[in-house]
Amino acid sequence: MTTARFTVPKQRLAQLLKTPGGLPVAEAIAAAQGNLAQLKPLCIGELDRLLATAEKIFAALGSAYDEDGVGALYETAVRGIGLGDVCGAGSVDIALHSLCDLLDHLQTHHRYDPEAVGVHLRAWKLLISTELPPEGAQAVLAGLNKVSALYSSPKAGEG
């Protein structure tokens, strides 16, 4: 049987947060959002750069499972998550999350499907470069999630 010890530590942060002065919530949130808006051009540029890298890796992959190649694609896609929201393209984050899910499933089961990966990359490009109506973006994302979910179990997606 494992033994455990509990303590209730004093949190300095709790005291600091209550220190006189500070900022009203509304003001702080507005300031943080204003700060983030300045990063928009950088985030768009980085998403474009990551997409170009992902396309290059994808083009070099064959039709068989390639551990390093799939790993490199995952590493590229995961770096983009969170940038879409800052540049007003939150759907890109969802598409990248779906791509990471798919690549994680493929790595787990040592499988590869260029079609499933390719459709994610095309969607990434579409969502970043065009202003789709919300319903259109939702339809694209729903399709991507279905594709990545197909590969969540070892034998799914075959046939």
Partner: protein, 211 residues
């Protein structure tokens, strides 16, 4: 948690020493822009484990916002190190773990690293502030055991994990409770009431208002 973004309640992060760990320059920029917007002035910006460990060893850290550092997940190792090796007071520092995507193989690592809370990217500033306030709440137990060091993951008194055996003195039973039992296990209504009370507590201006 439900913090109202239009609230006039005040909070003060000016004197808090905040550690930020993110390996990507833009990821770091996003964190910096959010926490400086929220009023933090003292930032320890770290882009790798080594820098982060040095910052923890040389400073009192009041809040850490740590990325999981995919694909390696080294951010989880850093939090585990902080909980086990950093010593007081930094071992108790509230840690907000950020993650872009958690691979299936790393889920238990994320659960067991000892972070107070995990935030999935993208995260708006209001979410970060809510989590900071929630993580700083006093009175939450901190657990030292062979397999886990960190804040008590049972922060609602609903007994042992579902399907698990009671391992604590206050776990009266290891067997499922009868359907009509009201007591140790909170009812849905009780949980909802507690959630409402917690929200009200966060929104309560006098609690945060230092003026």
């Amino acid at each position: 948690m439900g913090l109202d973004p239009t609230s006039r309640a005040r909070f003060n992060l000016k004197d808090a020493s905040v550690l930020l760990l993110d390996a990507t320059p833009l990821g770091m920029s996003i964190l910096v822009q959010i926490v400086t917007g929220l009023g933090a002035k003292t930032l320890h910006r770290c882009n790798d484990l080594e820098t982060a460990q040095t910052a923890v060893e040389g400073n009192q850290i009041d809040l850490a916002i740590v990325d999981s550092l995919p694909p390696s997940g080294e951010g989880y190792d850093f939090v585990q190190w902080m909980r086990r090796e950093a010593g007081e007071p930094n071992c108790y520092t509230p840690v907000l773990m950020t993650t872009s995507h958690t691979p299936r193989s790393q889920i238990s690592r994320a659960r067991d690293c000892g972070a107070n809370i995990i935030i999935k990217k993208p995260f708006p500033p209001i979410t970060v502030l809510e989590r900071i306030i929630w993580s700083s709440k006093e009175g939450r137990k901190f657990l030292f055991s062979e397999t886990y060091v960190g804040p008590d993951r049972r922060f609602r008194n609903i007994g042992p994990p579902k399907g698990g055996k009671g391992r604590r003195r206050e776990d009266f039973t290891a067997t499922p409770l009868p359907q009509n039992h009201v007591g140790l296990a909170d009812t849905v209504d009780q949980l909802a009431a507690r959630a409402r009370a917690e929200t009200a507590e966060i929104d309560d201006a006098p609690e945060l208002d230092g003026d």
